[in-house]
């Protein structure tokens, strides 16, 4: 039981490049989330999903797109044209219930955009 895993762990991009971050969970959770964590800002929600094929915007969605795959344990975060403002640590989380009583986090992806 690996919990929540994220790929890759580190990445450096140039401005304008694109990339996809992958999150996978093996707990059969319905709800999955992408957060970014910046110094002095705390964790902020980018997008989330309440089940296979569903996604919704969070607090800071601009510049990102997401997809929840048919194999519902996977949740992708895409950056179509990376900007230096997207330099951050990205965390994926999953939860079992709609009441959001608990969320389990992955180890994070450290992204630098030059």
């Amino acid at each position: 039981n690996a919990g929540v895993t994220q790929t890759p762990k580190f990445r450096v991009l140039k401005t304008g490049q694109s990339m996809t971050l992958l999150c996978a969970q093996d707990m059969n959770h319905e709800y999955m989330y992408w957060y970014r964590q910046d110094p002095g800002m705390g964790l902020r929600l980018i997008h989330y999903s309440v089940g296979e094929g569903t996604t919704a915007k969070g607090e800071v969605p601009d510049g990102y797109n997401v997809s929840r795959l048919k194999k519902k344990q996977n949740f992708l975060l895409g950056l179509e044209s990376a900007a230096p403002s997207q330099t951050s640590v990205y965390f994926c989380a999953s939860g079992q219930t709609a009441s959001t009583d608990t969320q389990y986090f992955g180890p994070g992806t450290r992204l630098t955009v030059l």
Binding site: V4, E30, Y33, L43, A98, D101, T102, Q103, F105, G108
Partner: protein, 112 residues
């Protein structure tokens, strides 16, 4: 104004001391309150979870929620150097699946 406020610290205490970490929140709809611990360059891990007001104890950790004053606390007894980490409080109304509202985190240092 962020809905959950937390002093970023750092908070430095000697080993064995009782640690008190605190948050305030502004959204009266919040019913679920959590504390996460985050070690450097790691993901947050759930430490304590409380529903509504009251206390919850788990080993050396006690979480306390006072909804009348919108105050959330985490107490750590007999603090250890391994407790050195950033502690994040988080809240949610439970009305949907739209994520948690986090404080910015308090950096705690336990001096051996």
């Amino acid at each position: 104004q962020k809905e959950v406020e937390q002093d970023p610290g750092p908070l430095s205490v000697p080993e064995g001391a009782i640690v008190s970490l605190n948050c305030t929140y502004s959204n009266s709809a919040f019913q679920y309150f959590m504390w996460y611990r985050q070690y450097s360059r790691k993901g947050p891990e759930l430490l304590m979870y409380t529903y509504s007001s009251g206390n919850k104890e788990d080993g050396r950790f006690t979480a306390q929620v006072d909804k009348s004053s919108k105050y959330i606390s985490l107490f750590i007894r007999d603090s250890q150097p391994s407790d050195s980490a950033t502690y994040l409080c988080a809240s949610d109304s439970g009305g949907g699946a739209d994520g948690l509202t986090f404080g910015k985190g308090t950096h705690l240092i336990i001096q051996p």
